[in-house]
Amino acid sequence: MTALISTAWRWVVDRVRDGEHWLIDSQHARYGASVARIVYGLVVVLFVIANFARRQYLWGAASGWDRPIQPFSVWGFPFTFYSASDPAWLFTVKFLLLGVVGIALLVGWHTRIAAILTLYLYISLVSTNPVATDQTDNALRIILFYFVFADMSAHWSLDARRRRRRAAKGLRPLRVVPEWFSNILHNGAIIAVALQIFIIYVVAGLSKVKGSQWQDGTAVYYPLHLQSLTPWPWLSDLASSNSILVNVVTYFAVFIQLFFPFLLLARWTRVIALVGIVGMHVGIGILMGLPLFSMAMMAADGIFIRDATYARIERYVGTRAIPWLRRAWGRRRPTRPPERGAEPVDAGHEPANAAT
């Protein structure tokens, strides 16, 4: 009996050690967090472009009609940056500012500040109009909030390039907090994103299970016939014309969401989960005209791809795809050696800095 207890105790202690090691000693999903940064930046930039023509009607100088229902908003100070009382030009400047911070986030220029400003401006804007907000806003707000605690600048960012250049000059990295501190925050944020994603998919799947149209496999037919969700009516008709196809897509949508967290547990089912969920999001994005929602979700799903896989893709692009493209493009410019190697810590690939 005592032997059993001590074995169990040792097992628990070992698992706690593993957990500590996982949380404290290194950062996980560093590529995934960087991909999320790029996608959220892109979402915000595309949001600004797509809504530019209607900005005054929806949130700006022509949006005062929604004042009577404004008090229903749960948002208040300090998210009051945008106002229907602003003159049209001022609103336009503020609106474009969201696009600017979105670009900064995309390219990873002072990433954490850019992410916080993006959150602040995005929330302020969409909370201004209570009848023009959708699940994109919830997904982006909540998930980007978690990511603010993570290092989203590790790869493919201007911040990373700046750090590489510092290192190439032989300067020590700027560090105001100990490494374990940022590691714990980063890993905590990654766990938060994962759990949030699980809740989203499982709740979305579970809430469909009791719906009669999801049970009889016809549900996807209906949104494809709503005016507001059919950018391509002929395509929606085509997609919903075959009843077997409608059945398959309907059941697939329920099951891929419901089982998503469990499919992640084994490597080969993880591939099914990710390909399946991406397929669902691409379908929603194109057919129902919700690409920004799809992107906001897929950005977070990217943390479930291993860093090793991303690194292999990066290596392939750097050593094969880019040189191949260069050759295919013609030989106008002399071919330079591949810019990026396998590891992003290939400090000093910039000739100017390599001298030091």
Binding site: A50, A53, A62, P68, I69, P178, I199, A219, I286
Partner: protein, 256 residues
């Protein structure tokens, strides 16, 4: 989610790191207990946490609702329509109904790979306005179908509805009047942009047309349309609104 192959030397873990790790795990545990409970149906865990504690923690930052297209997806197309009485040369004329939602679908959704938020705005407004009207008992709701004039028509309408309900105040009636003012403000700006400054009165309605059920999609079915028709109201301009925007969107001949 594997760690990158960075050089990690196994150093003794500082006690502060251990403490912080425990704190982060506890915060995550609480946060996702709250998030899960928030998303679940009302249950004993929610009662244990306390509804108001949970709400004040989740709202506004973590407000969320993921039962999308569920239990069944929406299957009703709303139409937010406006028409006006135009007085010209002593003669008054009633215009045809004009659908704001049709315009949005045609000009802002169709053929747009990334539709703007116009895919929501008039549609959600139509749905919420309709719902706020239907929340009022039928005989009291009929009051809204009457013609109202004068600048203080919203308070008159509200008072008459409260009198019929024999109550001093009603959140249902207030919500309806708030939506009524919103929709009438929008409709008035649209009417003036579309039919000119001779518009004397405006009227709005919401039509709800269900999508033909899947099983009958290849048959000739006339769907049963539900509707809410509001009474005539005076032109209710929105103070300080940029009318040029409405002109560019709604003036006859402008196709944007």
């Amino acid at each position: 989610m594997q760690a990158e192959a960075r050089t990690v030397e196994r150093r003794p873990t500082p006690i502060a790191a251990r403490v912080m790790a425990v704190v982060v795990v506890l915060v995550l545990a609480w946060h996702f207990l709250a998030t899960y409970t928030w998303n679940a149906s009302p249950n004993a865990i929610r009662q244990a946490i306390g509804n108001s504690t949970l709400t004040s923690y989740m709202i506004p930052m973590f407000g969320q609702s993921w039962s999308v297209f569920a239990p069944n997806p929406g299957s009703v197309n709303p139409s937010l329509d406006v028409r006006a009485i135009v007085e010209r040369d002593g003669k008054s004329q009633t215009t045809d109904w004009y659908s704001l939602t049709d315009r949005s679908a045609r000009n802002d959704v169709q053929l747009h790979p990334i539709p703007s938020r116009m895919y929501l705005n008039d549609f959600i407004l139509a749905n919420r306005y309709y719902a706020s009207a239907l929340a009022i008992p039928t005989d009291v709701r009929n009051e809204a179908g009457k013609t109202y004039g004068g600048p203080v028509w919203p308070s008159l309408l509200q008072r008459n509805m409260l009198t019929e309900l024999k109550v001093d105040s009603s959140p249902t009636v207030s919500a309806f009047v708030d939506y009524e003012r919103t929709v009438l403000g929008l409709a008035s700006e649209v009417a003036v942009a579309r039919w000119g400054s001779h518009v004397k009165q405006v009227q709005v309605r919401v039509l709800k047309t269900p999508v033909v059920p899947f099983a009958q999609r290849n048959q000739k079915v006339t769907p049963e349309v539900s509707y809410f028709v509001d009474g005539w109201r005076p032109v209710t301009r929105v103070p300080g609104v940029d009318t040029a925007v409405f002109d560019s969107m709604f003036k006859t001949g402008n196709r944007s």
